[in-house]
């Protein structure tokens, strides 16, 4: 139904390697881009745009983490800390040098990439669960450092207020303006990641993930590429931190604690490891699910609870439903939402002649 493959003939290598093998895929992407860039921010009310903004920020972080975990097979539970590195780098640049966002965002990313690469050094020697603990240590060390070094954490309570980003002299204040601002970086992140993973570097990442010894034998410099994976992934995390700082107008270390790292891991595991679409679906799922379960419980909760108990029941039930739905989706499709989507798509592709 969606994809008609017959009659599409490729006559050059470039066409065969294209990001979208089929014309319809290109149209679909263009339609989605039009919907979310042109229509959504102006058609939706401010509240819904604010939810989309939270999703957009999460998308960048999830894409970055997926490069490391999904494509390279190295685990990190220090991504919250890498975000805080980006956030504080940008916040200091803004408050002390009045740097504009087109300097602070790359700067935050580069700083996080440097720290990430350093944290990635143990990945040469240790793997899997051991590497997880090493990155956990990084999370704690970075948190402690930000917390205790006033030169980094600036003002009171380890938080630095940051003015809104300005574009052509106008500060971006409303949710719609911020939406378009954030969307630009999400588009960059999506395009960047989709192209990265089908490049030489990306293929090296995948080779390392699938079998690192074999990858080494065919001539991939494992140390080199593992560090690149950490650096690129941390770059995304740093950018996420900066975007977050601009969105909220403050850099605060408590926004980037361990639970945030875990949330992002949940996003890519639910969305699908090693896929761009999966990262986005995961970011949407993890951000939206708690909000939607709340709407659901507010509308239907009176069936089960009295009005007074409801206030206490909603947050607790929400956690239970959230956990339950995650388990449900993982049992239905362990490879994540991305695979679920592809199954649906493949089913309709040959529908109604499924055999």
């Amino acid at each position: 139904m969606f994809h008609r493959e017959s009659g599409v003939f490729k006559t050059s290598y470039a066409a065969d390697m294209g990001l979208y093998p089929l014309p319809i895929a290109r149209w679909a992407v263009a339609a989605f881009a039009g919907l979310f860039i042109v229509i959504a921010p102006f058609a939706l009310s401010e509240y819904y745009v604010s939810i989309l903004n939270l999703i957009l920020i999460a998308c960048v972080g999830a894409l970055g983490l997926n490069i490391l975990v999904g494509y390279t097979g190295q685990i990190s539970i220090g991504h919250g800390a890498f975000m805080s590195v980006g956030a504080y780098t940008a916040a200091n640049l803004v408050t002390q040098l009045h740097a504009p966002f087109w300097i602070t965002i790359p700067a935050g990313g580069v700083m996080a990439a440097l720290i990430g690469a350093i944290v990635g050094i143990p990945s040469l020697r240790i793997k899997g669960i051991y590497l997880a603990i090493a990155t956990l240590a990084a999370q704690l060390i970075i948190e402690w450092t930000i917390n205790h070094v006033p030169a980094i954490s600036g003002g009171v309570q380890a938080s630095i207020q940051v003015p809104r980003p300005t574009l052509f002299g106008t500060p971006l204040r409303t949710q719609t303006q911020l939406y378009l601002f954030l969307m630009a970086f999400v588009v960059l992140a999506i395009v960047g990641t989709s192209n990265l993973v089908r490049s030489r570097v990306g293929r090296a990442f995948i080779a390392i993930r699938d079998q690192d010894i074999a990858a080494e034998i065919i001539g991939i410099n494992i140390f080199h590429y593992k560090l690149w994976a950490f650096a690129i992934s941390s770059f995304y995390a740093g950018v996420t931190g900066v975007l977050y700082t601009y969105y909220l107008g403050i850099a605060n270390y408590e926004q980037f604690q361990l639970t945030v790292s875990i949330d992002y891991l949940a996003m890519i595991i639910i969305g699908g490891l090693g896929s761009v679409l999966g990262s986005i679906l995961g970011a949407i799922f993890v951000t939206l699910l708690p909000i939607m379960t709340r709407w659901f419980l507010e509308d239907f909760g009176w069936l089960l609870f009295s009005q007074a108990d409801l206030l206490n029941a909603i947050p607790n039930l929400r956690l239970i439903m959230f956990g339950g739905l995650i388990i449900f989706f993982l049992v239905v499709e362990p490879e994540g939402l991305n695979r679920l989507w592809r199954n649906i798509r493949n089913y309709f592709r040959v529908w109604p002649f499924s055999y």
């Binding site: 009310s45 401010e46 509240y47 604010s50 939810i51 939270l54 999460a58 917390n147 954490s153 003002g155 009171v156 309570q157 380890a158 938080s159 207020q161 809104r164 204040r173 949710q175 909220l248 107008g249 403050i250 605060n252 270390y253 408590e254 926004q255 639970t259 951000t287 708690p290 909000i291 939607m292 379960t293 709340r294 709407w295 659901f296 507010e298 509308d299 239907f300 007074a308 206030l311 206490n312 909603i314 947050p315 607790n316 929400r318 956690l319 739905l325 239905v332």
Partner: protein, 411 residues
């Protein structure tokens, strides 16, 4: 089986799709947006302070509301996380909230700029930054309760009254090692210059559930004349237990406001363990307040038992204080607006004209002004004695000029 899962998925998806957020607001209603943490790391406070807020709102409504307006206070749990707090804020703003009761330090900081842009006043009792007492720099944030700076100063004044003279006396400052824990330190150092005491700080690494060695270090090696505890969560009770075990008299320990609830005493092993422990409060502790009797009567009239949250009087009363100040600010705003429904901007002015509103002694004699959003920085000291908190001092404020200098200096 396959069909069942498919069916379940479809059913769930439909249910969630049709469950949109309720947005409409009735006429004749005034909305206070409240946030809470009933499931996150600070739930020990949230599960008591938020029901208190709701109880007070219900009490006001049962007495006819504010000048004929019914108060609605929808509550959203932010799990002490920032993104849900942003979502909750935007939603309540859209619903037309005239004031916000935000919850949690990172959440208050993250939303501060939004408050200023949207011109909606919010309370942040015991959260956020001490400098937000300055109404010029933080025009829409109302700490209302005594800030950490005022608390630090009050602790020193209390110790001075106890010990007579502070010259040469040793004070140990035991704090939870996070920015909030460190915040009173500059005040303590400022006062050291004029009062001449010896100060040593002891950082308790989070989560502070193992303090045995540290307490021995404090009590056996440093041997302070008085200890100031600025701890959160589980750690205050651990500290009380360890002081007791080390044989340090609890009559020489004072806990700042988040180390001073009945729950902390219970967790430390009960009142006989904590006998003598001093606690600092920004709302009156105990049951002897008319408003608490009114709430009990309200429940009785509905044929229900008063909620068990009321038993933790310290935290519950703080919830009453916050709710009462919101209601009072809205009342001021409605009056100033000639009985019409006020705008958030008018409610901000309403907060700034709160004066001589004590709620039978539960609320300190606050005087909130355009410059001073803290309302003076009043505290009371209670002592654990014979199974309950007994009032030791009346409402007092300490070294206001030192604190206000620090507020002015903070950038």
């Amino acid at each position: 089986m396959r069909n069942m899962t498919a069916l379940a998925t479809v059913a769930l998806a439909t249910a969630i799709t049709f469950a949109g957020p309720a947005m409409a607001q009735q006429k004749g209603e005034i909305l206070i947006g409240t946030q809470c943490d009933r499931t996150g790391p600070t739930q020990i406070v949230g599960i008591r302070i938020c029901p208190a807020f709701q109880d007070y709102v219900n009490l006001v409504n049962s007495k006819g509301g504010i000048e004929g307006f019914k108060i609605v206070a929808p509550e959203i749990d932010n799990e002490y996380k920032v993104p849900p707090a942003v979502e909750a804020y935007e939603r309540q703003k859209q619903q037309g909230a005239v004031s916000m009761s935000l919850y949690g330090t990172p959440q208050v900081q993250a939303l501060n700029q939004k408050l200023e842009e949207d011109k909606i006043p919010s309370t942040s009792p015991g959260f956020g930054i001490s400098a937000s007492a300055d109404g010029k720099r933080f025009p829409y944030l109302f700490p209302v309760a005594a800030t950490y700076w005022s608390q630090g100063a009050a602790a020193i004044k209390f110790i001075k009254d106890k010990l007579g003279d502070l010259k040469g006396k040793k004070i140990a400052y035991v704090f939870y090692d996070n920015p909030a824990g460190r915040e009173p330190v500059p005040i303590l150092e400022d006062l050291q210059k004029t009062e001449g005491y010896e100060l040593r700080t002891f950082a308790v690494p989070p989560p502070g559930v193992e303090m045995g060695a540290q307490v021995l270090d404090i009590t056996q090696r440093y041997r302070p004349d008085f200890i100031i505890d600025h701890l959160f969560g589980r750690s205050p009770s651990v500290a009380i237990k360890e002081y007791k075990r080390a044989g340090f008299p609890l009559t020489k320990v004072i806990g700042l406001v988040w180390a001073s609830a009945e729950a902390d005493i219970d967790a430390a092993g009960g009142w006989q363990v904590a006998e003598g422990y001093h606690t600092m409060q920004f709302a009156g502790a105990g049951d002897d307040f008319p408003v608490r009797q009114d709430i009990k009567a309200m429940y009785k009239a509905q044929g229900k038992e008063p909620p068990k949250e009321m038993d933790d009087t310290v935290i519950y009363n703080r919830g009453l204080l916050v709710a009462a100040l919101h209601v009072e600010a809205i009342r001021n705003a409605v009056k100033a607006n000639g009985g019409q429904k006020p705008t958030p901007e008018q409610v901000k002015k309403g907060f700034e004209s709160i004066h001589e509103f004590t709620l039978g002694g539960l609320v300190p004699p606050l005087k909130v002004t355009q410059e001073d959003h803290e309302g003076g920085g009043w505290v009371q000291i209670f002592q654990a004695k014979g199974g309950k908190f007994v009032k030791e001092t009346e409402w007092f404020r300490a070294y206001p000029e030192v604190v206000s200098n620090a507020v002015k200096k903070a950038e």
